[in-house]
């Protein structure tokens, strides 16, 4: 009997095309896996059974009619709940949008559907993507499939947990400061933050408009590359002014050798305070494996990276405050009853609709954008952004990719870090990539020597070198033998194809 646990996205699509099984059987198997597994992971906020079966039936009808099937035909996929999909609610894991019905479908979601994927539902996240644990969801936390007492990371924690536990083959997340790469690292899956502009942001609820980027998570680099093909197919999206034409075959050079290519490491970063020794060891081992594959390991420096947290926590809250001002309880969202004035209604709707972290980020943004403070912090942060971007340009003149951790530690226990400012510091390895608009990917490289939990190595590449970055990610994956793994506690529980 075949299980979805053992099939790649390409194998699912090929199996449907060959008539080995139908898309409807795949959809039922995925629904079965969700039914058997999600009580433990709590990755889903909604399961879209009807949409899944409708899409699968459409795929089966196309095959019956003799049509050629698209590349993700019948592949189970789910979406972070900040992405609009007609026929589902888009809650951003917030009471503010608890009943919000999607009025349209996001371009990134539509492109996955156009590629034939079967939509299984919407996934949990930190409220409005503010966080790195998924514990700030207004509805429930999500548990790490490798140890359900631990966080899956965030903010795309539902996306990482759903893929790691084998409930879906692919998921989409969004990454404003590491929110795809960090949960991918903590859950042992591949997670890619594409270059800013590579994937349309239309229909993805905005957090930081100059930083946000949607991207895929999967259990192999090939699956993620297939999703990148789907997400960039059609080129520039006219509905997003920042969208760029990045349509290309991300599989074309996936298996290329990396012999003679240069990979950077930043020695100072590997001595960073708070970096767990097992993570450091894993990254150094990953560098050795890339060297064994023929890459030159070159020491590079990003001298202003130490200031990236400060710059990010100016820029992101400011953009968030601006974006979330729209939630005033009038056109959509929670509305406080029995208010006598519009101002009272707005203030109480926002007070009771948003959770603590959403309020904190907006308050910080409001302060930083206020008169006199703007010049001191916001303008300075935008100038530091120039310096960080220039650092990367100098580094990428020497190397094709830079290797570093995605997270300083493995997954930690729920509630173990409660100080918001301490949590912000854990973003140190990911956020400079968003500030510069480059691409990044986390690839599982091993289980930690001390913890036995997954560790991801992050590779960062220059803006719009996404396909090249995938080549390095695949080389690392080949050397580490961590592809296609479903978390052991969940493997084999439901998900069989009849």
């Amino acid at each position: 009997m075949t299980s979805l646990d053992t099939l790649t996205a390409r194998q699912i699509a090929a199996g449907i095309a060959a008539g080995d099984f139908t898309a409807t059987e795949v959809a039922h198997a995925a629904l079965d896996a969700i039914s058997a597994r999600d009580a433990s992971t709590q990755a889903f906020l909604q399961v879209s059974e009807n949409l899944a079966l409708e899409a699968a039936a459409k795929t089966d009808a196309a095959r019956a009619a003799g049509e050629s099937l698209p590349p993700l035909a019948g592949v189970p996929v789910a979406f972070k709940d900040n992405m609009n999909l007609l026929g589902t609610r888009t809650t951003c894991a917030s009471r503010m949008l608890e009943t919000y019905e999607s009025a349209y479908t996001a371009t990134c979601v539509q492109r996955m559907l156009d590629a034939g994927a079967t939509p299984l539902g919407k996934l949990n996240m930190d409220e409005f993507a503010f966080g790195s644990t998924t514990d700030s969801s207004a509805f429930h936390p999500t548990n790490n499939p490798w140890d359900i007492t631990r966080v899956p990371g965030g903010s795309s924690g539902g996306s990482a947990a759903a893929v790691a536990s084998g409930q879906v083959t692919l998921a989409l997340g969004s990454d404003t400061g590491g929110s795809i790469r960090q949960p991918a690292s903590l859950c042992g899956v591949v997670g890619m933050k594409p270059s800013y502009g590579a994937v349309s942001r239309y229909g993805v609820v905005a957090f930081g408009s100059s930083l946000d980027q949607a991207g895929p998570l999967g259990r192999s680099v090939e699956d993620v590359a297939l999703a990148m093909n789907a997400l960039t197919a059609g080129g520039r999206d006219r509905l997003d002014a920042t969208s760029q034409n990045c349509a290309q075959d991300h599989l074309a050079h996936l298996e290329d050798p990396i012999e003679g290519r240069a990979v950077g490491i930043i020695p100072a970063l590997l001595e960073a305070e708070g970096l767990a020794s097992e993570v450091r060891t894993a990254i150094l081992d990953a560098a050795d494996k890339l060297a064994s594959a023929g890459a030159h390991i070159v020491e590079v420096d990003l001298p202003n990276m130490a200031s990236s947290i400060a710059a990010y926590y100016v820029l992101a809250p400011c953009e968030a405050f601006s974006n979330l001002a729209r939630f005033d309880g009038v056109r959509y969202g929670y509305q406080e009853p029995r208010c006598t004035t519009l101002a009272e209604q707005s203030s109480l709707s926002r007070a009771h609709g948003f959770g603590p972290e959403a309020k904190r980020r907006q308050m910080l943004g409001a302060y930083l954008l206020s008169s006199g403070v703007y010049e001191k912090y916001y303008l300075a942060a935008q100038k530091v952004r120039t310096l960080i971007t220039a650092d990367y340009q100098r580094a990428f003149a020497q190397v094709d990719a830079i290797l570093m951790p995605a997270s300083p530690t493995v997954a930690w226990e729920h509630g173990a870090i409660s100080d918001p400012a301490a949590l912000y510091l854990a973003d140190v390895f990911t956020i400079s990539n968003n500030i510069a608009g480059n691409c990044g990917i986390s690839v599982p490289v091993c289980l930690g020597a001390d913890s036995g939990l997954p560790i991801g190595a992050q590779l960062q590449g220059p803006a719009f070198a996404d396909a090249q970055l995938l080549t390095f990610a695949r080389a690392l994956e080949r050397a580490c033998h961590m592809e296609g793994i479903v978390a052991p506690a969940f493997a084999g529980k439901g998900g069989e194809l009849a």
């Binding site: 502009g197 947290i309 100016v314 009038v330 209604q345 926002r350 302060y367 912090y377 935008q382 310096l387």
Partner: protein, 101 residues
Amino acid sequence: MALTKDDVAGIAEYARIALTEAELSDMTTYMNDAIDLLEPILGYDLDDVEPTFHPIGELANVARDDVPVAGLTLGEALANAASWRERSFLVPQILADGGAA
């Protein structure tokens, strides 16, 4: 200089987020901790550095062809509103004094 509770109350009013007294205390602590975290960017001499407001430097405004296309219907636009009447979103009075002043 650290932000006081009164400062934070003023920011909350501007941000349109009504905070309880307990929330105000916690928020004041948070704001001061978060601002401490931002200190590194104040140590730079940035006089000769141009700001980067966006990672894609050469953005241009885009406009589609000036032809009508279907948008949300009235029903779709109102569907997620908590309060509406006929063709409009319904809100309480806008001026606190009822507009008499």
